[in-house]
Structures are given as structure tokens and as C-alpha cells.
């Protein structure tokens, strides 16, 4: 691996390019969950769900956050809205420090920052008709009942539902329609930022595309900023302007969509991309796949150094001792790796060499 020398830091971490100024700035965000055990519920450990995340989201862009289960993507989304209290770090929304505001101010802020959940079955109250579900946030925020009801029809129409169906109950709708109801509710207070947490994962393929198109249209019409959290790389690539790849609570790579898919630099991004099956038989069968060994480490005891090193095919001793910082690799690309993969290179080509090197080192 002689040609693979650690890259010098080329420039201080740039602010993300986007369509506008940063609307959301997250700095060194940590969300840890205590593990308690025994009679006195003493704390015996800590789960590093979000472990030092720094990123910013530009107004009107879609930032995709991808990663496998347990990587902390959902916790990150909820920590930003303080649905889960972050342990430390800073979240600034339009310059205002979200983590320090009073409960009352937080409620007001939530009208600007909304969330859509994955499971449209679980996130809608089955005993309330759709009109009430969509009107609820407006009533909570002090709008009159008549004004709220008047707006519900408009919102249902905007998400492609018939306003006259507003007196029906959630169980009378299909999964895709229920997700539209969830989106209508999130739009009710005219937020500028919406956290979308796996919004299409529970939907059938033919319906998934409808909801994705709807989200894209709403974003254009209403100048929305999206934080789109998902595990499906094809969906994320389709909808995002920039993408953050998370692994074990940290960002492994952050790049604009084109760069991430054309020149992924992190070995984890490479393996993720190579693991996604493509619906094209010739292409799919011709691909060289990097099958990662092992499972995700326990986030209660993350590995020393780089958290990916236990599964990384090109890890060296350095990776076990020193944690690679997230640093700029080039315009629009940041990576947390001691040995970022160069454009045009494939992890597949590096692996046998690396394996040989490891074997040599052991002899």
C-alpha cells in the first residue's frame, strides 16, 4: 500500500455549497444513551448513538443521510428537533442555538422545523379523522378552529388527497395515502425545514415513486429544506443534493450527490454502493462486489481509532490508533479516512493487495 499515503489536509473544512445560506448548522453534536443495569439502575455504559457530527444544511437543499441500522441517522434527526435531547454540541437553526432555548421557544421553533416519520400506520392517531390530525398542529400553535379547518382542505389537496376525504379515519387509507397525510400535517405550520425519517421505506415500490415526486414538487413550490434520512441509497441519490454517509454515529463521508456516486472516497461508501443491487441483470452480474465481513460493532463499545476499521478491507495499524478527522478532500467532498480511495480506483482492486500486505505483516 505504498502509493496510499495519508492525505494532507488540503484546506480547512469548507461550508457546504448549496442553493443558499446555511439554515441549519450542527457542530460536534453528541447524543449518548446511558445503559443502566442492576437494582439501583446504575449507569454501566453508554451507547454512542450520535458521536460528534458536524454538518450544515443550506436553505432549500436536500441533504440525504444514509447509513445502516444503528448508525445513528434517526437519532441525529430527532436530536436536531430535540425530540431526543442531545448530550452536547450545538444545533443552530437560522443562527439560533436550538439546544439552549426554553421549552416555550422550542415549541415555537418547531413550527419551523417539522418531521415526517417512517411508519404512517403508527404515527397517525387511529381515533381521529384526518381533518383533526392535520389541523392539530395549527390548533396547538394558537390558530382558530375555523381557520385551521379551512386550511386542512388546502393541505390535503396539496399532497394529492381529496379534501372531502378529510372526515375519514387513517385505517381507511392505503400506506401511501397515510404517508401523504403525515406530510400534510408536517406542512400545516408552513415550516422551512422538514426532517424526513425513512418516509418511503414502508411503501410499495410503485407507490414509493409517487411520494418521492410529491416531496420534490412540494420542495420547489414551498421552498422547503429537507433532511432526508434513509437506508436506501438509490432513493437518497435520487432526491438529495448532498449526502452524508454515517457509520456508528459519525459521518464517514459527506459530498454532493454526483461526487459521492462517481468518486466515493471512503471504503465504507464504496462497499455500501457495491452492495446495493441494481435492477439490471447484465450490469448486476458483471459487478465486482465487495462483501464486507462481519457485523456492525456494538455502539456501546465502538472500536478504537476509526470506527470502520474492524470491517475495513484496507485498514492498517494507524487506523486502530488514530481516529481520522472529517476533512476536505476536494471541492464538495469531505471524508473521514486515513487512506481515502482515489478517483478511478476501486476498493475491489485494492483489497487483494491489502490482504497480501496484512498477511505479510503477520509473518
Amino acid at each position: 500500500m505504498s502509493e496510499q499515503v495519508p492525505v494532507e489536509e488540503v484546506a480547512p473544512a469548507p461550508l457546504p455549497s448549496g442553493n443558499g445560506a446555511a439554515i441549519l448548522e450542527i457542530k460536534d453534536l453528541y447524543t449518548h444513551f446511558p445503559i443502566r443495569a442492576g437494582f439501583f439502575r446504575r449507569q454501566v455504559g453508554v451507547v454512542h448513538a450520535v458521536d460528534g457530527v458536524t454538518l450544515s444544511v443550506a436553505a432549500r437543499e436536500t441533504l440525504g443521510i444514509v447509513g445502516e441500522s444503528g448508525c445513528g441517522k434517526t437519532t441525529l434527526g430527532r436530536s436536531i428537533l430535540r425530540l431526543i435531547e442531545p448530550t452536547s454540541g450545538s444545533v443552530r437553526f437560522r443562527g439560533e442555538e436550538v439546544t439552549e432555548v426554553s421549552a416555550e421557544r422550542m415549541r415555537a421553533l418547531r413550527s419551523e422545523m417539522q418531521i415526517v416519520f417512517q411508519d404512517p400506520y403508527a404515527s397517525l392517531n387511529p381515533r381521529h379523522p384526518v381533518n383533526d390530525i392535520v389541523a392539530e398542529p395549527m390548533l396547538i400553535h394558537g390558530q382558530s378552529r375555523s381557520a385551521a379547518i379551512a386550511r386542512v382542505g388546502e393541505l390535503l389537496d396539496a399532497v394529492g388527497l381529496l379534501p372531502e376525504h378529510g372526515n375519514r379515519y387513517p385505517h381507511e387509507f392505503s400506506g401511501g395515502q397515510r404517508q401523504r397525510i403525515g406530510i400534510a400535517r408536517a406542512l400545516a405550520l408552513e415550516p422551512s425545514l422538514i426532517v424526513l425519517d425513512e418516509p418511503v421505506s414502508a411503501l410499495d415500490v410503485s407507490v414509493q415513486a409517487q411520494v418521492i415526486n410529491l416531496l420534490e414538487d412540494l420542495q420547489d413550490d414551498r421552498e422547503l429544506t429537507f433532511l432526508f434520512i434513509a437506508h436506501d441509497l438509490s432513493v437518497v441519490r435520487h432526491i438529495s443534493d448532498r449526502i452524508a454517509v454515517m457509520y456508528l454515529g459519525q459521518i464517514a463521508e459527506l459530498a454532493d450527490r454526483e461526487t459521492l456516486y462517481a468518486r466515493p472516497a471512503h471504503p465504507y461508501t464504496h462497499s455500501l454502493l457495491s452492495a446495493v443491487p441494481v435492477a439490471d441483470p447484465d450490469l448486476e452480474r458483471a459487478r465486482k462486489r465487495i462483501v464486507l465481513q462481519g457485523d456492525l460493532p456494538n455502539p456501546a463499545s465502538p472500536p478504537s481509532g476509526c470506527s470502520f476499521r474492524t470491517r475495513c478491507p484496507i485498514a492498517t495499524d494507524l487506523c486502530a490508533t488514530e481516529e481520522p478527522p472529517l476533512r476536505a478532500l476536494g471541492p464538495g467532498q469531505m471524508v473521514a479516512c486515513h487512506y481515502p480511495i482515489e478517483p478511478g480506483q476501486s476498493l475491489v482492486d485494492l483489497v487483494p493487495k491489502a490482504a497480501g500486505a496484512t498477511a505479510g505483516a503477520l509473518d
Binding site: V205, A209, S234, D295
Partner: protein, 337 residues
Amino acid sequence: MAVENLLTIDNLSVAFSTKRGYASAVRGLSFDVRPGESMAIVGESGSGKSVSALALLGLLPRSAQVTGSAIFEGEELIGMPADQMRSIRGERISMIFQDPMTAFNPVFTIGDQIGEIITTHDSSVSKKAAMGRAVDLLQTVGIPNADRRVNQYPHEFSGGMRQRAMIAMAIANRPTLLIADEPTTALDVTIQAQVMETLAEAQAETGAAMILITHDLGLVAGVADRVQVMYGGRVFERGVTRDVYYKPTNPYTRGLLQSIPRLDGERDHRLAPIPGTPPSILRMPAGCAFQPRCVFRTEVCADEPAELELVDEDHWSRCHNTASLPPLEVDAERVSQ
């Protein structure tokens, strides 16, 4: 046909009487599986893909009304007495389920459970020998430290490991047919890649045929020799995998392939969704099940169900308007290969 079929299904139907009415889940399904081949069944929720597999193995609740025929290695599976079915399940046909946690008994070790499968089907094998076989099998499916792992309980395995252990259990008696029902849907994409690789190796090692049931068109593209697309309890298209992907004939298949975002797709390409939602099995539309969502619908579609017809060599489609469908924009270079 030169090769004798391993499994021949003829006019299989499954219906349930429910409180909310009569639900017809599978309607007149006919297909065959050839020895050693991988046949994929693709469909969305409610298409009947899983129910048909469960019906084959007699795993549906008593309330299910199963009619039709399924001849496996010369024997009729539909209506087979339970004790006879038990000697086929796990021996000549094995099933791999989506959720391995429910397939394993939590109070027995993985080794006990694989060992039991072996000794049940061959009582001459000693318990010790069966345990030795279990270790070999776990090694085959790539579980590290198999000799130690064999004594662990299912909860001590991660999701991906459990799914591999289930594959080990499925191939323990060298079946001739594996039925994998959404085997990787509960798994992360990197773990999915591991499990699919293991499954392919297990199939190569035993020479078993496989029915892969999934909603994931990407998975199918990688492993299936033939594919059939189900919708509303019926097969809408069937053919060699390349033909179905590069020359999809049925409007539903076309819609499905166009609605998925692709990793290698064009930038800023707008998805082409299929309008509407899949039908409920309690309220099937009249005529063709897909007609309410179909952009090529004509009058006849709402009146009569279409038949599955041969459109090309080994390529079938169920549509009234096959002859008048506009040609598909395809990558000519790929099709001519």
C-alpha cells in the same frame, strides 16, 4: 420439454374466508420449476407471492381454501396428509423465511436445532455426528468459530448470522428445492450482500433449485434465471430474467421498472410512478386486476380478465392489449447482446 420439471404447479388458488369477506389471495397460478434453476417471484404487498409458497408446503392456517395441483418430484403436495408433508418439508423442500428470529426456537441452541433436522430425517445419525454436521454446515455458510457458535442460542446471533444459520439449517438435508421468502428484507444492505452470496454458494453446493420471493427487482436481477411478476394474485409476466428486464411486455412490469430510482440513473430524472395503489385482496377490481392503474387500459380491460399468453419464446404476459402497446424505449445495444 427436455428437462423434467422438479415442481409443476397447475391452477393453484388460495382463498380465505374473513370477517370482512371472501379474500382471494392467489388466483389460478400455474408455473413450473426446473431442477437447479433459480426462479424469482416478484410482487408488491398483497400480490400473493408469499401465500402461494406457504400453500405449497401446507403452512397456511386451516381457514385457507387451497385448490389446484402442485406436483413435486412426482408427488401431489396439495392435500397431502400432514405426516407425509413433514417428511418432504425440511428434507426435499426447505424454506428460508424473512425473519429468522421466528424460525428458530429461542430455548434451544443453534446446534440442537440443526442437529434435530438431521436426526429427524435420518434416525441412524447419532446426536454427536449430527452436531459435527451442524458445525460443518455453519462453516459452509461462513459463520466464524463455528465449533463455538454451534452451542449458542439464537439471540446470541446477529440478524445476518441468524439468517445464515437458517440457510445452514435449510440445506442440512440437501433438499432439491429451496424456497426463500424475502430472505434479506430485514437486513442491512451490506449484510444482505453477505447473505445473498451465502445463499448462492449453498445453492451451488447442493444443486438445489430455488424459488426466490421478493419485492426487490435488484436482487432478482442478480440471481434469477427466470422471473415471474405477480399482481393481484396472478402472474402478469413471466420469462427469462434478461427478457423481462430488457423487453418487459406487460404494462405493470413496465411501470414497476420505470418507477424505481436507480443507482445508475440519469441525474434529475423524474420518476414515473404507477398511479393509484395495489388492490386489496378483499376488493379485486373487475376484469384485469391492474386496469384501474393502467395507462393502456381499453374498454375490454374492465369487462374481462386477461389470459397469460405466450408473447415470445419462453416469455408470457397477461394483457388484452399486448399487440397494440407502444414499443418500449430500450437500450438496443443491450437487447441485441
